[in-house]
Amino acid sequence: MNSLTLSQVTKTYDGVTALDAVAFTVAPGERVALLGHNGAGKSTLMKIILGLIPATSGQVTVLGAAPGSQTARDGTAYLPENVAFHPALTGLEQIRLYLRLRGDDPARAMDLLDRVGLGQAARRRIGTYSKGMRQRVGLAQALIGNPRLLVLDEPTSGLDPVSRRDFYTILDGLAAEGAAILLSSHALTEVEARTDRIVILSQGRLMANDTLAALRRRAALPIRLHIAARPGAADEVAAQLAGGRRNGVMVDLTCGHDDKLARLGDIAALKGLIEDVEIIPPSLEDLYSHFSRRDGQ
């Protein structure tokens, strides 16, 4: 059974459509990235999943129950975007409160804060924390009670690169234990390596829902080949391969997915003139632009 199932979820505000027949699923242990511009409907979709706002139409099933039901709330953890917490409380006091609200043992607060790397600052007031530290308090509360579904809105915003890596390591552990994870992010490169599937929303509509490899195949965006010529051979390489020269030694080529091997063969035939070849597949940014603008934006 899927941890989260959305079918034909539509939300309208005063006649404006925020979500238009969105449908996808998240299975246990799966990490799904939700991508979209600001205002694409990501936060609205998350709030519907959490039962904070009702959908205008369509079906949402969270852990086999209705969103906002006792079963759904007991098993779901949420990290809101830019959550700030009360500055007068310490991280430890804040996490102890959330543990008690879940009916959990408040003595576990220190373990949770250690797990997100806040053990040293646990007894300091949140008012003295940096944005990244507040974000870790938010992550610590999302780990309470072994949630079976995590809904994370921009979880890594404000985190430095090392903290981001630690954060995804924690998520990997949760997913390995069977938790379903739905996270939104603007940092496409980190999503690329750390999630199993990508859902792209644009203007409230689902534009793509697939693995990165499948999206690459479907988009059929050109692959770039960077060829480093031997000194003085750049012009000849460029002429032979009908490619543009980038500078004195580099030659740039683009080709379709199916032409890739043939083009590499051409390049290999010139091996006396060539130092190195780099194959650059379309980036997630390219894919994201492709899918989110498909509607003729």
């Binding site: 709330r73 779901t76 949420y78 830019n82 700030a84 917490f85 009360h86 609200l101 009916g103 509360q141």
Partner: protein, 277 residues
């Protein structure tokens, strides 16, 4: 603990800690203690003339003070309760926990009421000590002081709940603060001035005899004042609209101050339920 008591206790303890850290406890205790001592000093002089004990006179003064100060302290503590959580983004987070909206309000309410009871208890307690020091007969006023204490908490409860409702309607702390001050002015200051003007214009007619008592009962601050003055033996020491106290049964005033906290809390829960996080 039961399923309801546990989250209320957790939220209440957290909110009380915030009130301590934000110095609300210090500020309200200092304010009440200072005013109570000043009134005790001022009230100790005319004791012999009026013929009642020093504490009963002080209770009449404290009633007039409490009717302004208790609603003000309650609104100052409560205006940020919902709007602040919306601004910090913690309201939507707490609502995804297995906790209902009324439970969230109950937790805050318990903590804020505890702060009020500490402040009011400290102020009134000091007044009692001061009266007992100058007048050994002042023990006669202790029942009136006790009555003033718990009715002050009921009055505070009303304005705490009104503060939560305003906070939920305003959604931004700044706007909620403005609304809170407006409500305080309207209910505590302007309401009585308006009634006084109407009484003067009416000249003892139907308004004064029929509408006025009900209008006084309809305002929690007036009901509080009427109840304490009517029940006290020191009614003669009171001024202003206190004179109307004779025409209103004590029971009606008591019912009003008992019903108001329930009605105001229900209003706050409705207002919070309407908030879309």
């Amino acid at each position: 603990m039961t399923a309801l008591a546990r989250p209320v206790a957790a939220l209440g303890a957290s909110e009380f800690r915030i009130a301590l850290r934000n110095r609300w406890v210090t500020i309200t205790v200092a304010m009440m203690a200072l005013f109570a001592l000043v009134l005790s000093a001022a009230g100790s002089a005319p004791t012999g003339d009026v013929g009642v004990d020093a504490l009963s006179v002080t209770v009449a003064s404290l009633t007039s003070l409490g009717v302004y100060l208790v609603p003000l302290m309650a609104l100052l503590m409560s205006f940020d309760a919902v709007a602040g959580e919306i601004e910090r983004g913690t309201l939507s987070l707490t609502l995804t926990y297995p906790v209902s909206r009324s439970t969230i309000l109950l937790g805050k309410f318990a903590a804020h009421l505890a702060v009020l009871s500490i402040a009011v208890g400290a102020g009134y307690g000091l007044a009692a000590v001061a009266a007992l020091v100058v007048d050994p007969e002042a023990t006669a006023g202790l029942p009136a002081l006790w009555r003033l204490f718990w009715s002050s908490l009921l009055l505070g409860a009303v304005f705490l709940a009104i503060g939560y409702a305003l906070s939920a309607v305003a959604r931004r702390p700044g706007a909620a603060a403005g609304l809170a001050i407006g409500v305080w002015l309207a209910l505590v200051v302007l309401y009585d001035l308006g009634l006084l003007a109407a009484v003067v214009a009416d000249g003892g007619g139907a308004f004064t005899t029929h509408a006025l008592p009900w209008l006084l009962l309809a305002n929690p601050a007036d009901a509080f004042r009427l109840y304490n003055l009517a029940a006290s033996e020191a009614t003669s020491a009171a001024a202003g609209l206190g004179g109307a106290a004779q025409t209103i049964p004590v029971l009606h005033a008591l019912i009003s101050i008992l019903l108001w906290p329930l009605a105001a809390f229900a209003l706050a829960v409705v207002a919070l339920r309407r908030v879309t996080p």
